[in-house]
């Protein structure tokens, strides 16, 4: 079955036709060429594919594209300002919170949602808020530091 999916993607209305079983990650990466969202496992275990659905983080590899119908989706491309970096992104760069970078879009998306909900999170809240994302490079230390620093406007 192919039904049109209408969603607001990064603030713009988008219409796409895709089979019922198509997941949001494939719609984004393969059809719409938004490759900032990463495919680390395709099984809901790594968090690399995190996007915001109506402002809440979801794993796009587990989310059927048609579930986004009538809703708003924000990807890393939508979180990034047209030029330059968001304060959180800048903090990631300055604190060394990105190494290979493959997990980074997922972390930025998840942490952006976290900071919207808790503008001044405790360390524990950051750790818990990011527990759906895996990073094999950093040991998380600098990621947590970067999120806390961004929250404190450091």
């Amino acid at each position: 079955m192919r039904a049109p999916v209408r969603l607001t993607l990064n603030g713009h209305p988008v219409e796409a036709t895709c089979p019922d079983e198509r997941v949001l990650l494939d719609l984004l990466r393969e059809e719409l060429n938004l490759t900032g969202t990463k495919r680390g496992c395709d099984l809901g275990t790594c968090g690399c594919c995190t996007v915001l659905l109506d402002g809440r983080p979801v794993l796009s590899c587990l989310t059927l594209a048609r579930l986004a119908d009538g809703r708003s989706v924000t990807t890393i491309e939508g979180i990034s300002p047209p030029s330059g970096l968001s304060p959180l992104q800048r903090s990631f760069v300055e604190h060394g919170a990105t190494q290979c970078g493959f997990c980074t879009p997922g972390f930025i998306v998840a942490a952006t949602a976290l900071l919207r909900e808790h503008p001044h999170p405790s360390r524990d809240e950051v750790v818990r808020g990011l527990s759906g994302n895996l990073c094999r490079c950093t040991g998380y230390a600098k990621i947590i530091e970067a999120v806390l620093a961004a929250a404190e406007g450091r």
């Binding site: 790594c46 990105t98 493959f102 094999r136």
Partner: protein, 775 residues
Amino acid sequence: MDASARPDPLRLLGGRIPYVEGPLKVTGRAEYTDDLKRPGMLVGRLLRSPWAHARIRSIDPSAARALPGVYAVLTGERYPTAFGVLPITHDETAIAVGKVRYIGDILAAVAAQDEATAERALAAIRVDVEPLAEHTDPKVGIAPVTDPIHARGLHGSNVQKEVAQHFGDVDAAFARAAHTVRVRGSFAGVTHAFTEPMATIAEATPDGRLTVWSATQVPHYLHRALSEVLGLPMHRIRVIKPEVGGGFGGKSDPLPHEIACAALALETGRPVKILFDREDVFLTNHGRHPTQNDLRVAADAEGHLLAYDLTAAIDGGAWSSFGTVTTYYNGVLAMGPYRVPNFRYHGRRVYTNRPPSGAMRAHGGTNVRYTIEVALDELAEKIGVDPFELRRRNALAPHSTTVNQFRITSTSFLACLNAVRAASAWESSFRRLPFGEGIGLGCGFYISGSNSPIHFTPKMPQSTVHLKVDMDGGIAVHSMQADIGQGSNTLLAAIVAEVVGVDLERVHVVRVDSDVSPIDLGSYSSRVTFMMGNAARRAAEELKGRLVHGASELLGYPPEQIRVGPERFEVAHRPDLAVTYLEALHRAMERTGALTASGAYSSPPMGGSFKGARAGTAPAYSFAAYVARVAVDAETGDYRVGKVWAAFDCGRPLNRLAVEGQIEGSIHMGLGQLMGESLNYRGARLMNPSLLDYKIPMPMQMPEVECLLVGAEDPEGPFGAKEAGEGPLVATLPAVANALYDAVGVRFTDLPITPDKVVKGIETRRREGRAWKGD
């Protein structure tokens, strides 16, 4: 060189330098292989063997080929040339020829218009095999077997490599020893679990050229393997390395799917992409070898080490990969950070019908280090000396030679011990914390680059760096060093900017592309900072010389009197007389146009002349001393590592941000192996090929980490630096194990140390009536 003799302090190096490509990574704009598309690109897919060991009677691709939308179906006979990362052990083919050797081995490769068609094609391939006995026990494989996995196994067995070395007289040392200890370590296989699955795109064009984009740590070895197997001269193959989402050794072999992808591109004339799913990644493995080792240590009455007697039984899986090196390293990397005057090693790596093991961060040095450091903890207790004191008494001296003729130059091992002891409040904690809490010391030693390149022909430097600067003043840097997240692009740019005296943003590291990047042997063996760093420094010095010449002509003072300032060149004793960088540049290029410069590094000759003497020789070594603190729940066996104090000697740290990142990431990976990661097999079948069932530590499991960078400058490293990419891992595991001993009085030698083993260990100790801290 001593600090006072250095003319100018460093501007950039030694500080905290954010990654130059960081802005691309945090916005999702960094391009990884799977982010690339080529016009008309086909989907490549691999048919993987469901059999662990079988002779292929026939493969019939005709039904698959007949499907609409299928462009090619290849089987092994098309490109049967064997390859492998080491020239002496070529035992892999792009696609299986004659036999399959593990569940996951590649039987056929398909190129189709889309995924669904490719899947249908795979299902339509008919394979007829004769199953053979499965070999999964390396102990059995040391004797001759029927149907050995490879014809090249020693004497009809499955032994891939056997190493026997003896330095000094171990038996005599044991005969006069006052103390001996013995530890037998057992280590499950673990894997890299980088976040980016492997991906390759290949495209053959009508001009007779083949371009391959691949997630690889070593573009040069891939380049060679493609040429050998496909029968194309290297100059007609172009290898491009996009951003790589982590490697840790898992992307350092040329891998069969990369060659199969290129073969499909040649066959179809269309671009082809092969993207791995997570199961493919697990089956491709090349992780740390399942290993059993056995170490006997002899010491005199004061705890001076007299001898190690060491054996290792290593499960290699289906291929050789780096296995010959692995077999040596599991022995020879025991030769630091302590002086051991007598050493005997017997190691065997045995093929099994399991996914191949290979190189993983701190390759060959991790498991042996664990056993040594646990044994020394035991020895210190037996003799009644503090574990720090025991290590101090045995520390290798700077500028010394080990019994197997490793050349030791700089070592700040004692400084590591002192720093970590003070920072961790060792004095008031060791054996003084209540039952269930503990503190432990583990130390480390690792190569800073392998002195011995894998290929000896043609003779060439291990690293070459080219610079090009035109009238715009931007400096383009070309080198085949492979940034896989460790920050080598940043270091390369920073070294050039430092030497030439320009702002970092003027320097642009060009993506690795064999058409323009001069050869560097890539990211493995912790070689990049040392080797690329030296090459970059030399290239930058050459460029600086040209610029100084231009400045000298403009200023009317001889070049020796020109000093490099930030973005300017000035007369040393008259700093008011200066020209800008661009003025000097434009003068220097008046007759030649764009300036180019080149620098290279080859490590000096070293090592003994016996068989295997080169293994483990390195132009420098890193040293480490870590203290870990743990809290154990004796009822459930759960434990938490609260803090790790990590004193590390990487010489002068050139980018503190990156060095800390390497240490923190290494501790993550080390804790994973220690606490829970394990590739679990039922017979030949990998039972947990997913990140759900193979769990790497999550944020809440990570301890606080305090990095203590105490290294003194290395005499040969670039600006005094040594490696920090792999050495930081090895001390982690024994530090925690020794802390567990301090906490609950149990020696754990079977990794991973899961809670059930902790409970069992405590019960056994109690049953045996050995009290520990009142328990």
